[in-house]
């Protein structure tokens, strides 16, 4: 059992958890993920590591409530326990002295971007972070990014900050303006990562993306998370999760992620019906209108 040491609802739909998992914390590196199973009937699903504290023996995750499993996880309170947490899985990010690095992130991708920037800074890189959110209400950790990065830019989908509505538009203009960029990391929504890869391609700036296909075991055993990169099949859990965004078959990834939409909706609905009272209690406790 892995105890939830800290919980924060960052914005509607997005939850941050600090989990007691000392052995995982000891080995965690940027780019890696954990597989969780919340309870006995739960499914196994991956979440990127958003931080760790080797001394305290904790790891952090940050996730979007998307379905039954993330809803179950979001419904845990501080002091509650998660049945299974496995990790750290996947290959760590390649962190080198690139010189000038653009780190683009949105929603759940903001989490793993934090340790990534820390590691990049440690290697002496200049880090320009770009954060995309729907609107001010969905923006979080802007200060944290500012504190770590040399420059931070926020792009809001409603156009209320600057002229861009998508992070990729900012990236294109940044490159077009002749700014030096040696490497791009894009972590978050699939569409955002795909668009960023598309805009950096003509500039031949290597763009690393962190893929989030459906997984089961997370250790290379089942092949559920297979993606096509550079024309070859790769297992995201052991060969990734980070790949060259210019080589990823995005269409295949998006289609495979949608394979269980019907079942996911069915399971999510069922959870809501079974947990109406719990939901009401949760929204009272959090002091917010609702976490859903």
């Amino acid at each position: 059992m892995y105890r939830v040491a800290k919980k924060e609802v960052l914005v509607p739909n997005t939850v941050y958890l600090r989990i007691e998992a000392a052995e995982i914390a000891r080995k965690a590196q940027p780019g890696q993920f954990v597989i969780l199973r919340v309870d006995e009937v739960g499914e196994r699903f991956p979440l990127s590591l958003a931080g760790w504290d080797k001394k305290e023996g904790t790891v952090d995750v940050l996730f979007l409530i998307m379905g039954r499993s993330t809803m179950k996880l979001a419904a845990l309170a501080e002091g509650d326990s998660i049945l299974d947490v496995v990790g750290p899985l996947g290959r760590p990010s390649e962190i080198e002295a690139y010189s000038s690095v653009l780190c683009v992130c949105s929603t759940f991708g903001v989490g793993p971007t934090i340790p990534l920037i820390e590691a990049l800074k440690e290697k002496g890189n200049k880090v320009i972070s770009v954060m995309e959110a729907k609107d001010e209400g969905f923006l979080f950790w802007e200060d944290r990014l500012k504190g770590l990065s040399d420059e931070t830019h926020v792009v809001l989908g409603d156009g209320s900050r600057g002229k861009h509505r998508q992070a990729s538009e900012f990236v294109r203009e940044y490159l077009e303006s002749g700014n030096r960029v040696d490497r791009v990391f894009a972590l978050g929504r699939v569409f955002m990562m795909m668009e960023c890869s598309n805009v950096t391609r003509p500039f031949e700036v290597k763009t690393i993306v962190a893929l989030t296909p459906i997984m089961v075991d997370g250790t290379g055993m089942c092949g559920c998370c297979r993606v096509s990169v550079g024309g070859g099949t790769k297992f995201t859990c052991v060969d990734g999760p980070e790949f060259d965004g210019h080589a990823v078959d995005w269409e295949l990834l998006i289609k495979r992620k949608r394979a269980y939409l019907r079942e996911e909706a069915q399971a999510f609905d069922l959870w809501h019906i079974e947990n109406l009272r719990r939901l009401a209690e949760l929204s009272e406790l959090s002091g917010r209108s609702s976490v859903v």
Binding site: V41, S69, V86, P88, D217, C222, G223, T233, V238
Partner: protein, 472 residues
Amino acid sequence: MTMTEKPKLNLNRVPIPKQAPEERRANFSEVALGYTDEMAMEEAGRCIDCKKPGCKDGCPVNIDIPGFIKAMQEGDMPEAVRILKSKNSLPGICGRVCPQETQCELTCNLARKDAPIAIGRLERYVADWEIAHPEAVKQGDGGVEPSGRRIAVVGSGPAGLTCAADLAMLGHGVVIFEALHVAGGVLMYGIPEFRLPKAIVQGEVDYVKSLGVEIRLNHVIGKIATVDDLLGEGFDAVFLAPGAGAPMFLDLPGENLSGIYSANEFLTRTNLMKAYLFPQYDTPIQVGKRVAVFGAGNVAMDASRCALRLGAEEVYIIYRRSRTEMPARLEEQENAEEEGVIFKLLTNPSRFIGDERGVIRGVELHDMELGEPDESGRRRPIRKPDSEFVMDIDIAIPALGTRPNPIIPSTTEGLELTKWGTVLTDEGTGTTSKERVWCGGDMATGAATVISAMGAARRAAISIDAWLKNSG
């Protein structure tokens, strides 16, 4: 029958009762129901206690087969249990999934008369008897002096459990590291409930724990700790038994369409994650109406029979060779066919066809014929020209075997591999190129059987024990 007079040669093997095919294809309960007391005694009574028993030589873990059957004949069930368990810590599992027809029952002297003793069924009966009579068998009270030595076992499948049990019985401290959230490895995620009930597996895992073995779940060695970490953190030796690992695909156009599952994924969702109970359990699975399983080994049989039980209307085994070359156990082939699995032999796929949503709709197949024997001794399948046709399917399941998982090899320095990516291992002792590291099971040999993994684990345990004694 009295015990002193030699019984007459009885060539009537007692059949094992099974659920009727039309009934069992709709449930996940065990197919073979097991002998009743009377049946077991009748079958045990057929053993003629030969002067030169062949059965023992056929057993990879050298069970004293005539001994435990004799104890049964004498009505001393606790003694039968003790004899069995002195050589095999997992009899309930082996009695169900061992290919006895190529092992002990092949070398039984009565096999010459086409009526070998049903050793596997008797083994299962004895194991199940113990479960039903937990008080009857006094476990040895340890008795062995603790050696103070510690061994890390990587993986809790058949090899890991066997090696751990053997070493614990010799007085060594053993910790098993298991990657998944339950112990048992392939016995839990791979072999279906209807062939090996999970309660039986967990009972045998509990037995191994009762010997003093500690099991740490959710520990992927190579990630949470490397093999060298284990060696540096107080373990004298490491036994690697992480299993077969990575599934192979057909390497054909369209194989990443949704609806194409590796057999490993299909079985893991079904068995380990209990997708057949969705939505009570959270993990979904899709089966549709028409399912094609590619390959004809035991795993292909398991996947096809799971698909039927999950509600598929038509399930095909598609195999490029003919029936005689099918690698699955005859009994499993028969079970599958009885339940309605359709064998489409001398047929091979060339591509998968999907719709605009990236979901599989069909597979293009072509006919094959057999040519001259190849390296494996089996006749080489050759593509028949102009024989292409398309079959509509909702789900495809390649069951083609596995390659070694890269996690441990890529994180362990000094561990030499074979050209197949398996760990270079001495067959007789399980030693590897790395000091203090042994290996066994599929990681050493490539995909094989439960019992061969157990045999390798037994030999490694003996070697580890000898090394510990010599290294003071």
